[in-house]
């Protein structure tokens, strides 16, 4: 079985400058969405520029829906938007090119599904200067990166960032420190979609978090999803494991929840995990911005 979809190509990665635009949050003509119990609510923080939310914040801490730390980036042309979401990787640098924040640097922190959106982290003072419509350049690199160990696919992550994550590579297995390990049946929106372009929403809310040892789940955490093969589309496969980064917060919508961008997928025998519900530290804002700055 070909376990790395990029086998057969060379290992040298190209970088591509992609243009994207800071998103304006948008809603339909009806202001309400409906939560799992049938109560209408106004979605806050779903896309666009979100101030005050940072990597390390708890996913259940805000009265928000899919809120991501920083700014979501999009492109008006659907095909260019899909390319942006497929090629941008966590850790890639983002430079603001227009508007009051022109010249400031940020970093890709994850991706959202559906329309081709990616999430960019900026320092809070930069976010205050950003405005929807501002143009940015994303220097994408990472897709096609070689496996760290045999059989385990790496995707959606800038290779230079991997060493700043709690991931250790042995000769035949990876050792990954995660906040929690959850079963694949918790994956809602995003299941069946291509991993390079979608995140996976975990159907966990504040009420069910303790059941999954996710009370302390934070933006930037690494999470393991068991019996999930996410090399291509994400789907159920017994004995497989996928590791992702938590990139957006919880959602009241049924089938939705904290979102995970997958970065590793392979047979579970190749990925050892240590669940650290209290002490885990995953993707950190300082490390992320440092790696991005060095790549710019």
């Amino acid at each position: 079985m070909n376990t790395n979809p990029r086998d057969g190509t060379g290992d040298r990665l190209v970088s591509v400058n992609l243009t994207a635009f800071v998103e304006q949050a948008s809603v339909g003509s009806d202001p309400f969405r409906i939560d799992g119990d049938g109560a209408p609510y106004v979605p806050i923080g779903d896309g666009g520029i979100v101030i005050g939310l940072r990597l390390g914040d708890g996913v259940f801490d805000y009265a928000a829906d899919h809120a991501a730390p920083g700014a979501c980036l999009v492109h008006d042309d659907p095909a260019a938007g899909y390319a942006l979401s497929a090629q941008a990787c966590i850790g890639n640098p983002v430079e603001v090119r227009t508007g009051a924040a022109a010249g400031e640097l940020g970093a890709i922190a994850g991706k959202r599904g559906e329309e081709g959106r990616v999430i960019a982290v900026f320092r809070q003072e930069v976010l205050h200067e950003l405005r929807p419509g501002d143009q940015v350049a994303v220097r994408s690199r990472g897709q096609g990166a070689p496996s760290l160990v045999e059989d385990v696919t790496v995707c959606n992550v800038e290779p230079d960032l991997v060493e700043r994550l709690p991931i250790g590579a042995g000769p035949v297995t990876l050792a990954v420190n995660v906040r929690t390990v959850v079963p694949s049946r918790l994956v809602g929106n995003g299941i069946g979609r291509p991993t390079p372009m979608w995140d996976l929403d975990l159907q966990i809310d504040r009420a069910t978090a303790s059941r999954w040892h996710a009370e302390q789940l934070r933006l930037g955490d690494l999470v393991a999803i068991d019996d999930l093969d996410a090399r291509y589309n994400a789907g159920y496969r017994r004995g497989w494991r996928s590791i992702g980064v938590v990139v957006h917060g919880a959602s009241p919508q049924p089938g939705h929840g904290p979102g995970v961008t997958v970065i590793l997928s392979g047979p579970s025998g190749r990925i050892d995990v240590e669940a650290d519900g209290a002490g885990h530290v995953g993707l950190d804002e300082e490390a992320l911005l440092e790696v991005a700055r060095a790549r710019w």
């Binding site: 079985m1 070909n2 979809p5 409906i34 939560d35 799992g36 119990d37 049938g38 079963p183 694949s184 049946r185 918790l186 994956v187 809602g188 929106n189 995003g190 299941i191 069946g192 979609r193 929403d201 159907q203 069910t208 019996d227 093969d229 090399r231 291509y232 589309n233 994400a234 789907g235 159920y236 496969r237 017994r238 004995g239 497989w240 919508q253 049924p254 089938g255 939705h256």
Partner: protein
Amino acid sequence: MPAEGDAVDLKRNDNELLTQVLAGEVWPALGDRHGFRVDPDGRPFLLPGMGGVTLGVHCGDPATGWAGDHVEPGLSVRHHDPAANFALQYLSCVGNRVVVTSGPGAGAEGMVIGQHAYVLVDMDECAMRQVTTGDQVTVFAIGQGMRLTDHPKIVVKNCSPALLAALGGGTASGGRLDVHVAARVPADAIGAGSGMVSEFANTDLMGAYAGLGGNLSLGLEGLRIGDIVALADQDHRFGRGYREGWTTIGVISTGSCQLFGHGPGPSTLMSGPSEAFRLVDDPASNLGVLLCRTGGLRPDPVAAGGSDQP
């Protein structure tokens, strides 16, 4: 189990239900210039299934084992206006009567068997052969808003009064609703469609990839088109979501998939706390069989007050 020809008399709010007459059009199969999609093992495939008129697959036929992807039995129907299309998709209910109104097949009648971002219409194979892309159909939409007055915890949707009457079951001891199901589906199988509203498209089931790896199987390869199934730990009242202790009843409306994370899909019919149901394993619980039991296709007529009594 009711005897043949019996209809189950469940109290419901029929006098409140309205019929809306909706126009639709048989929609073409759609592709893009790259053609290929990717199966669970990373192999590319290019297969028919969605859109157009898919012949030779009807209620009661195997859902899996076709060289197809997202096999949509019969007519695949949309409306060209986006908002009118959402109304068509949301309001059409399984069991609703459909009439072909243009082309050589005009006058032929069929029945809604589910939604899949298309309204899916099964009809007699001979009649279906006369229908093609662009032909107009009329859907007599009735069912949304139905309530089972003796089962207030159960939400019914996408289900015509005629189908509800044909479903095997009734009120069991302890006030639970008996539902006959051809298969029970574990929550691990829930694939694409999760997180979407349950009045639109359906819930793809993984674990039914006939002929692919054993580590993909959840024992669902025997599903048939039209099977009434129970989904464990699914609450589909306000969208499709995982909720332990809840049960959703659906009808398999689409077949084989090679695309990973996808598979034969049930359209949602009912959702409630598990204790509100008494599931009865019954391999004959299939749309095709049920409709024969009640004397053949007895679709919802257009009648003032929405009565479905013939």
